[in-house]
Symmetry: C2
Subunit: 199 residues, 2 copies
DNA sequence: ACCTTTAGTAAGTTATCACTCACTTACTAA
DNA sequence: TTAGTAAGTGAGTGATAACTTACTAAAGGT
């Protein structure tokens, strides 16, 4: 029953993420989290001095998860278009495994409440965008995609693809696999990008 | 000072929408709205029996605004690709003029709290998607876009484009015009779709 | 076996939320 | 002019949120 502080902190963070998906981020009260874990509400404040810092830990966990997934996806992949596909696939995978993320972006705790966290998230998404743009530029210099397209514009289109898939899945009945439908759309978009070469 | 019920209701709804954008949907308390308008909190309940019904009126106003904008955009436009562009542009315009919409999609009031409203919103987005898909299919039969693309997939890509632009703008510093950047991306995407014909 | 550390508890406090109700004041039509 | 109606008020209510404090008991090293 009684866990070490480190384990308990991790348990709290992951419980918050689960509940944020199930009932919405704003419904995640300290009481609800404590009950879910099987502790009293006061026990949470032994591990996190305030609810804001608890959300901070959650945000850090999410951004770390994203960064790790990108790193893993790009490992030993050097072909630019392969890297683009791997990056987008990784992003879809993390969101599918952490379905609270889309809602989190718009939650009170991470936007209105905590300007720093909002900045951190934006920065992370910026890194994603720039990485995509860099690989797209490389693909362009190899003549794999049309030269008259701006890499950043295409990167925006690909980022939007992920976000759109996530939104439809988050708001929808969640019957289909977000990862599969997202990847299918990605293939369509990548084929469009490569089309001038094909024929 | 004293307004008719119709005017007051409209004022309350538009105030809620403004404040939802400024401070986030969940921060929009009855007290805050009343103070903003210059009424007592109790006065709101003279016009709306509950806060849930107030949010219902807000959602109805938003969906009506969307439907009207689509209708206006499609009027006297028969060329399929022109219609697609007009639809997406209209969507971007409404969101730019009603910036609370993206947050609203993920707000507690319209998702966790009120399943009916959530369904209404989803249905509206579904109509948008189907309208796009129909015009894309028409463009396809005219040979304007590649025949091996599925209209619904392209419609998803275009919907995602709007959602992505809205997200970046909602989370970002809002320095640039969402409508302009969105339309620029739309042109890029439409050029990609038409490319197989061009050359 | 004992003692220090620390995870956890019980029972609060304060603030704020949506909502109510008895009452008052401003319009309007006869 | 006046009576009726509808908009608006002031002062509440109970529920629930985050957070506090004084205490308890389980680990772990010596």
């Amino acid at each position: 029953m009684r866990k070490s502080a480190g384990l308990r902190k991790a348990e709290i963070v992951s419980t918050v993420l689960e509940m944020a998906d199930q009932i919405g981020p704003d419904r995640v009260t300290t009481n609800a989290v404590a009950k879910q874990i099987g502790l009293t509400q006061a026990a949470l404040f032994r591990h996190f001095p305030s609810k804001a810092e608890l959300w901070g830990a959650v945000a850090e966990h999410v951004t770390d998860t994203l960064a790790t997934a990108w790193e893993a996806a790009l490992e030993d992949v050097s072909d630019p278009l392969e890297r683009v596909r791997a990056l987008v696939a990784a992003q879809l995978g993390v969101i599918a495994r952490t379905p609270a993320i889309p809602m989190l972006l718009f939650s009170r705790e991470l936007t209105t409440e905590n300007e720093v966290l909002r900045g951190a998230f934006r920065e992370r998404l910026g890194v994603f965008h720039e990485t995509l743009a860099a690989d797209l530029a490389a693909a362009q210099s190899q003549g794999r995609i049309a030269a008259d397209l701006r890499p950043r514009d295409i990167a925006y289109l690909l980022s939007s693809l992920v976000q759109g898939a996530a939104i439809r899945w988050a708001l929808g009945p969640r019957t289909t696999s977000m990862e599969e439908t997202g990847l299918a759309l990605l293939d369509v978009q990548l084929r469009l990008l490569e089309c001038r070469k094909d024929r």
